[in-house]
């Protein structure tokens, strides 16, 4: 069964949507759904006052959120299964700490997308804000598993402290992508901002274009792209295309950050410096 919640109204206050997990919502009756309470700003509001619900038996499983979705923060946070489709933009912290399931955002996402995510798949057709797949406040480790696919750009510190998993950004990324990377894979098809890979210990950071390399990165021969080809194939199967030019000629590879453990790799298709 598919449940569609269409959010109405123009109240700019953010809605704490952490309770809107697909598995739970699908079990609620229409009345219980309307009675479900959420926090809006500092007050408790019934879900029925914010949206209207429609159920379709034949439209496949999952929950669709439509309408004024940009004010919903924490969508799918802590999700451990099911499918959540956001037909619009999402607020901050979508999919934070999720461990399984699938979230698709047809618009753009706010900051802290997939913060501390442990598993599952997050797909954003538009762009993502800062700290995508990064560590939650007070935590050293960022994303610990799963996949984040961003069709557009990502803000600053994408994959900060990432420990496992895959982040793929179809456009550009802001400053300090992969900062303090512990392991895992961060692919940025476009340009990465200054400070890419700062303090990374292990893991792989592949970028389409970089203007300046940090001094802690040392040349480590041409990249052998077999592992990257496996990722490209996997991402193609997920409908995400990386630049074909990446696999046509060996890209320069660097290891670093030497100021940390230095076992990370930074592969750059186009190094401008």
């Amino acid at each position: 069964m598919r449940l569609t919640l269409t959010f109405v109204g123009s109240d700019p206050l953010p809605v704490d949507a952490r309770a809107l997990r697909p598995a739970r919502l699908l079990k609620l009756s229409r009345a219980d759904l309307a009675r479900q309470s959420v926090m809006v700003g500092g007050r408790t509001v019934r879900l029925g006052e914010l949206c209207r619900a429609d159920r379709q038996a034949s439209a496949g499983d999952g929950v669709v959120l439509a309408g004024a979705t940009a004010r919903l923060s924490g969508l799918g946070a802590g999700m451990d299964g099911g499918r959540l489709l956001i037909d619009g933009d999402a607020g901050d912290s979508a999919g934070a700490g999720m461990s399984a399931g699938e979230i698709e955002i047809l618009g753009s996402a706010g900051d802290c997308l997939g913060l501390g995510m442990q598993g599952g798949q997050m797909r954003v057709r538009g762009s993502a804000g800062d700290w995508c797949g990064a560590a939650a406040p007070g935590q050293r480790s960022g994303m610990g598993g799963g996949t984040i696919l961003v069709g557009g750009d990502a803000g600053r510190e994408a994959g900060a402290g990432m420990r496992r998993g895959l982040i793929c950004v179809g456009g550009d990324a802001g400053e300090c992508a992969g900062v303090r990377l512990l392991a895992g894979t961060l692919l940025i098809a476009g340009k990465a901002g200054a400070g890419a890979g700062l303090g990374m210990r292990r893991g792989s950071l592949v970028v389409g274009r970089l203007e300046r390399l940090l001094p802690g990165f040392l040349p480590a021969g041409p990249a052998d792209d077999v592992w990257l080809r496996i990722y490209v194939r996997h991402l193609e199967n997920l409908g995400m295309r990386l630049p074909k030019a990446w696999l046509k000629a060996a890209m320069p590879r660097f290891t670093g950050d030497s100021l940390e453990l230095g076992k990370g790799e930074l592969i750059v298709h186009d190094l401008s410096e």
Binding site: T185, R202, D224, W227, I230, Y231, R233, H234
Partner: protein
């Protein structure tokens, strides 16, 4: 029963369960992939002397390989999962790993697995790294032309070994052409191999020997040069015998391969086609030649 003039014996090939593994070997070019995969199936004709039987299932287009490069599929069979794991480790480590530009992936999803890449990684002496993608771990071992990528675990599934055909002909050359056509037909069946060189064996064996330390010996009943000295199984005028041994990932695959080989082998110069069995005491799969041909409408 006769097919295109060739007498088909009313007998069966006796096949038996084996443990099977399937490798996808890729490289920068089809030639390099074939070179690596071809080396990995060396000295793997008979389980009796080699510990495993192996062969090339066929090539894979770029679109069908995990890394989008040209590939070859290798099938390995052995009598126990432990022995199979030993050969996977040996053959991937000693042949595929050193082959230029190669990578090796698991091609068989099975309940039981062997950690092969997970052990081979130690060759990298601490410089190994891994990637975990979609539940599969790939080890990256630095080598002198870049990196050798090998999957951590390989599936160990149930296969079937011992499918066979015995081709009897008047003259060696014509019979060899028929045997090679039959081997080519086996290569056309996915999941099946004929592990002998070129798919053809000229030395059908029998278990045991008059010498106590010899586990298998020549099957004199099929040797034309012993025609006058032993209880021969050869018809009058027979001048040569070739055997095809066929292993596959299932009984059905072996049956299909035997059928394709049978039809391909029925050509001028072949007097009779038979099959080897041990009276039904060795294995549970009894692949009757007449039944196979009837299923094919021959």
């Amino acid at each position: 029963m006769r097919v295109r003039g060739v007498l088909i014996d009313d007998t069966f090939a006796e096949a038996f369960p084996m443990w099977a593994s399937r490798l996808v070997v890729t490289a920068d070019t089809p030639r390099l992939a074939l070179q690596a995969a071809g080396g990995a199936v060396g000295l793997a004709t008979s389980i009796i002397g080699c510990g495993c039987e192996a062969g090339l299932e066929g090539s894979l287009a770029r679109a069908a390989t995990p890394d989008g490069r040209p590939g070859q599929v290798v099938l390995l069979f052995s009598y126990s999962p432990e022995k199979l794991e030993e050969h996977l480790f040996l053959r991937i480590g000693q042949v595929i790993l050193p082959s230029a530009t190669s990578a090796c992936f698991n091609g068989l999803q099975a309940g039981k697995t062997a950690k092969v890449g997970g052990k081979l990684r130690y060759f990298a002496d601490g410089f190994q790294s891994s990637k975990l993608l979609d539940g599969r771990r790939y080890w990256r071992l630095p080598v002198a032309d870049g990196e050798f990528v090998v999957e951590e675990s390989f599936g160990l599934g149930q296969g079937v070994g011992g499918g066979n055909l015995i081709l009897i002909g008047e003259r060696r050359l014509a019979l060899l052409e028929a045997a090679e056509a039959a081997a080519e037909a086996v290569r056309g069946v996915r999941g099946a191999i004929a592990p002998f060189p070129g798919g053809v064996c000229r030395s059908p064996s029998k278990p045991g020997s008059r010498y106590k330390n010899v586990r298998a010996s020549t099957n004199e009943a099929f040797c034309p040069t012993l025609h006058s000295r032993v209880a021969t199984q050869l018809p009058p005028g027979a001048g040569a015998v070739y055997e095809l041994v066929i292993d596959g990932l299932s009984e059905e695959v072996v049956r299909q391969a035997m059928g394709a080989a049978l039809l391909a082998a029925c050509r001028p110069g072949v007097l009779r086609i038979s099959a080897g069995n041990y009276g039904g005491k060795l294995g549970p799969y009894h692949l009757y030649l007449h039944k196979i041909l009837k299923e094919l409408g021959a």
